[in-house]
């Protein structure tokens, strides 16, 4: 039973809410931070039988984890089980030298910094309070605290963004020499105020998106980054002293591994079930105060669905997918058609046969995956 090696911890609190964000977040509520951290640890205790004693990865995401009241955060990090990779997300304006040192002392190995953009006008559109200078300063604080694995998040397709803006963002990011970069398309959810406010411009950005992705891949590759997953880049091992700088935690998702998620809105996938904790704070705190599991929504995952997911996720990576590992999940006819269209390549024979998306295939990976999954 104790086999889960990957843990996600959701810390939903933020100082303010950004217009485009659709994560489970709560603004302020500093009074609740302590009890929330305690509740997360209670949930951890309840689920601990699922976990191996030594974890491979822990990812603390949000919200703004670094907005958590200091003692609560320190206490929480200290109480987490040991793991080889411990990543925390940070908002630039929360990162002080002191915080960076604190994280380092708490055993954090990797920080994912939500830069989003280096253009003031675009940061403003996104409702971000950080300026480009604050983003840079946060990065330096982390470096000064001797973090050697820092990731930057950038968003593209922002209303008002031009190709030149995007190139400037990439340039600014590369100049900081982060070990890792995540490049996200702005996903404007229909019906939100943000989408309403920027409707027409979002349409224009959607059209520009295919140029943007090509630009992103070009620029980052020539700067020495490996496009190892649809939206993720890491410094080539050859430029990093042989280190594999991929996000090991996220790799676990893309390899179809089991993971446990703690906190409101967090999703867990274990064997034939996936569950998501209800996104509301009060019921979560109440349940865990009584050592009960919080309210959850459970989705059964029959083996064929997990195989399909493994295929869908595995195809996002720049590595071959063992056909035998997704046996029965693929449409053989579609596979042959996609091979003929030079979107998928098949290597090897029989049990060792693998498939891999071609360069062009990766740019249309979702369409390829939709076609492939039986």
């Amino acid at each position: 039973m104790s086999h889960v090696r990957h843990l996600y911890v959701h810390l939903p609190f933020c100082a303010y809410r950004c217009g485009y964000c659709d994560f489970v977040t709560l603004v302020g509520r500093r009074g609740d931070h302590g009890s929330y951290a305690a509740a997360v640890l209670s949930e951890l205790e309840l689920e601990r039988p699922l976990l191996t004693t030594e974890l491979e990865t822990i990812f603390v995401g949000g919200g703004t984890p670094t907005y958590l009241e200091r003692d609560a955060l320190t206490g929480l990090l200290a109480a987490l089980p040991p793991a080889s990779e411990l990543t925390i997300e940070a908002n630039p304006e929360t990162v002080t030298r002191e915080l960076a040192d604190g994280l380092r002392r708490a055993g954090v190995t990797r920080v994912s910094l939500g830069a989003q953009s280096f253009q003031p006008h675009l940061l403003e559109v996104l409702d971000r309070h950080a300026t480009p200078d604050i983003v840079r300063r946060a990065f330096y604080h982390l470096r000064d605290a001797s973090f050697d694995n820092i990731s930057l998040d950038l968003i593209y397709g922002i209303p008002g963004q031009s190709t030149a803006d995007l190139e400037r963002d990439l340039e600014a990011a590369v100049a900081l020499q982060p070990e890792h970069l995540s490049l996200y398309e702005l996903e404007a959810k229909p019906g939100t105020r943000f989408t309403h406010a920027h409707g027409e411009e979002l349409g224009r950005q959607a059209e520009a998106m295919e140029d943007y992705l090509e630009r992103v891949v070009d620029v980052l590759r020539s700067a020495g980054y490996r496009w190892y997953e649809t939206a993720n880049f890491c410094l080539e091992a050859s430029r990093a002293g042989g280190r594999d700088l991929r996000s090991l935690h996220n790799l676990a998702y893309w390899r179809g591994r089991d993971y446990l998620g703690l906190g409101i809105g967090a999703v867990s996938t274990v064997s034939d079930r996936r569950w998501q904790n209800a996104p509301r704070l009060r019921p979560y705190l109440e349940a865990l105060a009584e050592r009960r599991r919080p309210p959850r929504e459970v989705e059964p995952l029959p083996p064929e669905v997990r195989l399909r997911e493994r295929a869908m996720l595995g195809l996002r990576l720049d590595q071959p997918l063992l056909l035998a590992s997704v046996d029965g999940a693929l449409d053989g006819q579609a596979l042959r058609r996609l091979e003929r269209l030079a979107l998928v390549e098949r290597h090897g024979e029989d049990g060792g046969a693998t498939i891999e998306l071609t360069e062009r295939g990766r740019f249309v990976g979702d369409a390829v995956a939709a076609e492939l999954i039986a």
């Binding site: 490049l183 090509e214 999703v267 869908m312 979702d366 369409a367 076609e371």
Partner: protein, 595 residues
Amino acid sequence: MPQERIRNFSIIAHIDHGKSTLADRILELTDTVSGRDMREQVLDSMELERERGITIKAQAVRVEWKGHQLNLIDTPGHVDFTYEVSRSLQACEGAVLVVDAAQGVEAQTVANAYLAIENDLDLLPVLNKIDLPQANPDAVAAEVAELIGDDAANVLRISAKTGEGVADVLDAIIERFPAPAGQSEAPARALVFDSAYDQYRGVVAFVRVVDGIFRPRERLRAMAQGTRFEAEELGFFAPTMTPTGMLEAGEVGYVVTGLKDVSRLRVGDTLTVEARPAEAPLPGYKEVKPMVFAGLFPTDSDDYPDLRDALDRLKLNDAALVYEPETSQALGFGFRCGFLGLLHMEIVRERLEREFDLDLLVTAPNVAYVVVSKAGEEVEVHSPSDMPNEIERVDEPYIKASVIVPKQWVGAVMELCNERRGRFDHMEYLSEERVVLIYELPLAEIVLDFYDQLKSRTRGYASFDYDLAGYREGDLVRVDVLIGGESVDALSLVIHRDSAYARGRALVDRLREEIPRQFFDVPIQAAIGSRIIARETVKAKRKDVLAKCYGGDITRKRKLLEKQKAGKKRMKQVGAVEVPQEAFLAVLNLDEAKR
């Protein structure tokens, strides 16, 4: 009833000039049926009587007036049913010609009046709606008199709405219309002027007895078609079905035949008694041929059997409807249906959708072409995709159209007719204000949106009627549409050479908008034979990925892909290209085509 006390008549009018209202008033005045009851019993009988197991509507109602038996025979209301109208008129000796005292003579007024005159009917001209403030009875009476060659003083003036003058109409029917003049002793002959299908009793024929006597349980024969059956019941509508012991010369009534299919008893045929048959049928029978064809496809292919059943049921009641299964690459299984005309098509479509609750796609209609091959063979083609490539000549049906319009719109009408390859025949002034324009036009040019255009370019003032005028050679070409180099059968169309380029261009443009980007470039072409006349390309897609996918996104993302996959399965495959059904709908759909 002795024939001299019988009068058989129709009411003919342009739409909305008050035919039904006058009929209502006549029933009220003669039959003591209250307005409300009558409305339920007669006009809405299709709905109401269904509950009682009778699904047919009275096509002839018998009323009593001053010791006379008057039979009011209903006529179908539109140009598409000219033949049916003429059979109904043939059952009468006279026709009440109703003209709106405000609107004046309209195209249908003229067409119906001429039809009545052709059938040797006496006309009783009546101005209706004289109570309207904008009524102009003197001018309209002059128009009507001019039209039928009568004296304006003989034109009655009534208001069917208030009932004013309606009794005079009844009196005039008795005074001015002749009594039937059949031979009571001769072998029995009756004209079938309409028929209907009842699910319990089979085909009910509406007949006008011309000679002799019919009695229940006699063996009867339809002389043109040779169909034999027993008269299960005879009767008349008063206004409900009233059985009777006999129908004799001059009378109008119904015969319950027990036949299971209206196509076995065609309108215009002559019934006679097998035991003592007449020597010759009544004149005028002809088989009506559909001239307008369109594909009918269920929007949901699972509904195909329902559509088939519905057409089978409609056919029971509509002898003019023809259909055969059609398989389209784009639209799947459906039927190619033939109609008498556009209105007939609309009626069928509406009934299928309303009475049978079907969701239908009706393709843009085409006409029946006669194609002469290089080998000299002549074939009738009902679908553009059946048009052979090697042809010597194509003939297309023409109509003689009459358009009546206030004189300030003459230019607009002429412009429209010219755009539609019309040939001007002549023009007449009906009055100082109104003109009738006679044009010859290819039927193909009016099947799509001619009527809508006519109405919109004349602010609704023009009225329009037409008659078929035979086949003429046309400079017609077949335009094929190729997607990814493959010709799509359902998209082929036959069109005049001068319009081919514009139409091909429009088709290609529309398809380019509708066909989603694929993994490769997709050329879309319109071609006449091997010559490409328009081309567009749907460029290959360069990006199709959702950026973010972590632990919390997996279910949503998987469902999205599954949905996408399901969507792909619903796409139609044209060669290697996946084309959504909607793309075909956009270019094939009648409603879309009209835009």
